[in-house]
Amino acid sequence: MSTAVQLEGITKRFPGGVLANDDVDLTVEHGTVHALLGENGAGKTTLMNVLYGLYEPTAGTVRLDGDAVSFETPQDAIQRGVGMIHQHFTLVRPMTVLENVALGWEPVKYGGLTIDEATIEEELRELSERYGFGISEHIHTPVEELSVGTQQRVEIVKTLYRGADVFIFDEPTAVLTPQESEELFGVFDELIDQGKTLIFITHKLNEALTVADRITVLRDGRTVETFDTEGATTQELARKMVGRDVLLRVEGRERDQGDPRLVVDSLSVRTNQGLPAVDGVDLTVRGGEIFGVAGVDGNGQTELVEAVTGLRDVESGTVAFDGTDVTGLSRRERMNRGLAYIPGERQEQALVMAFDLTQNAVLGSQHREEFRDGRQIDWERVRAHTAEIIDTYDVRPPDPTVLARSLSGGNQQKFVVGREFLRDPDIVVAAHPTRGVDVGSMEFIHEQLIEMSERGAAVLLVSASLDEVTSLADRIGVMYDGQFVDVVEPDAVTKTELGLLMAGQHPDEPDVCREER
């Protein structure tokens, strides 16, 4: 085996002083899958962007097949056979598969008067067959009409079409069902068989162990260690990744459960495009209970949450808080009835990034009596409230005049959690509350959710992380295609069973082929 990629002493410092990579080394052999493991913010993506020519390293050398190279743009990298499949696909949604694959590399006819589509199509079919992508029938379909898994395969074909030998995958399974992930790993095998080299960025321990030949762990922008997969254990990897021992599961707990506080009855909701997203869902969350919603992104969880929190109109069905029908009530009225909501899109929804913390502290309460002084907002009281959030929830820097944008992800989330929970809510809806936050903040947010439920609130927790749902929730509803496939107790199911449910299959039922979404 020979070395395909070699990164030596890569340091990347951003203008403004953020040190994303600090003297990182990485060696990847030809024809292997190499996992790059680390938490959010560990510098994995930055490192790969350096290899891909998106960033210029502050120091260090990149070698391909032993030659030192210096890429100024991704095109230089592509010329040398390095391709990257980003987490956010670089596909033009209204354009067809063929148009996307050939973008920038179109062969032309008649002196550039028209594109030689036949040649592209031929090559595309050939690639699709050789690697078993199964996209031949979609060649003239706009990519926006394809499922996420298929779109990802289009990305891979695009990279192949450009002649890549080294593939960088950035968290490729984040958007996939466990079954789609399996299919992706099958594609990995094909690529390896054809002599390609794969670098696979992930923060999921099990995936790294299953798929990779070797694993490099990054933490705080530094290389921790490189392992052979054989003989490595989850615990060991987790310790390397986080830097200390971690509890992979929260302690089990016993709680008295009260009356139903949040009741959703045969709720149907449509997407912005008018397609059915939630299809007749029933759901009851009692006081003191945490109800988890698991599922692959895009199966109606977002729309369910938005319908409950008053951000989306329902098509039919009802939502009730503490026995009162709130279906027709506005978002503001629902908040007045004791609803707190931690949205998944924290930076887009929960904070006005251009406002300072004081202004953000009153977001959602701006019309409430307690913050009113005659006809205007009582800014003095708002400032006191801001100080309380900052103190109680340890938001750093503890400066109320700082703009929301300049806080780190974890501190933004702590501020949001603090603001929402200091309302002393009866009903808490949390969507992906720990996505993109550091481990310390994650544990803190988990404790807060448990505390809320212990104080008698009904908690609806939506998360793409199975670990989070299984460790926190009393019951788990698995959503697929707008419906609950099943509602289970976390101790009564295995991860595999959950995975199958997430793919829309009931473990008891015979295996049915999954259709394109």
Partner: protein, 356 residues
Amino acid sequence: MRAEFETAAKWTVGLLGLVLALLVASALVAPDSVAGEVLDRMLDAGYASAVLRVSVPITFAALGGIFAEKTGIINIGIEGFLILSALSSVIAVVSLTGAGVDPTAALWLAFFVGIAVSVVTAGVFAVFVIRYQANQVIAGLAIWLIALGLAPFVSLVVFETVNSPSVGTFGTWRIPILAELPGVGPVLFDASPMVYLMLLAVPLCWYVLRYTRLGRYIRACGDNPRALDTAGISVSRTRYIGVLLSGVLCGIGGAGFTLGQLGRFVGAGETSIGGRGFLGIVAYLFGNYNPIASFGGALLFASFDALQFRLQEIAFLNVPQRLLQALPFIVVILVLMLVGRTRIPAALGEHYDEKE
């Protein structure tokens, strides 16, 4: 693409329906009644020719707008491009004929001067919005407002009055034999060269966007610039090309309207362009950014615009001229209500930072 064809089809059917309805009405209404006379005056070859002529600036503005917006740049400045090319083409004609150049040659040279001025204006706009990340709506507005002040200013300096003297126009090119065809002949084959240019430009723009590499890059650029960037095509270069093409097309529209139809520049009020650039913007919003469907929209607005010139001739109706001027705008708002939302390029108005 299918959706765009549907839109195109929708508009074609709509326009045919409109024409048909008018024809039926003219047959039903008693010929010697007021309505009969009005319809009689309107529905002749002269009116159809007028519609085509009047649609020239609107269509080219729409085509120009499509090229800019498909690359992701909102171009509200179209009206300004039209105004400046209209004025400069008149100044060029006056000075060239003054210098003893043959009148026809002067017209054509002036036509290109108008285009050149529009392109330079587009270039300035492009530098501001692409290189210096100006707010695209406000910058476009500024271009319009600058043109709105600069045009009468220059006209006053050069002609000592806000309205230019009259200059010649291209006249019509009669295509032998075809012009003899009953009905369409005099409309389509005895027209101003600007009309021919428009009839060529519409399918050409459609073809470029649909079938050439440049067209693909332009479409990708407005929808997912990152995809284009990672494919090795410069986003800002594509955007410069889009905005400059916008300048070329708007220049043809402004100079073509002035030298092909009006024969002078009016600097008073909203100038002789009088919002036709904005009608162009609405035309492509209708046409869902499809050049052919947008041309349909332009024809529709032009049919109301041309009414100004027709109904004035019918003296006994006594329709106030200013009311007729407002008519196309009122129609546009009413029609926009029916059309509803247009799918705009996903990255429209967003600055793209290449080194990120």
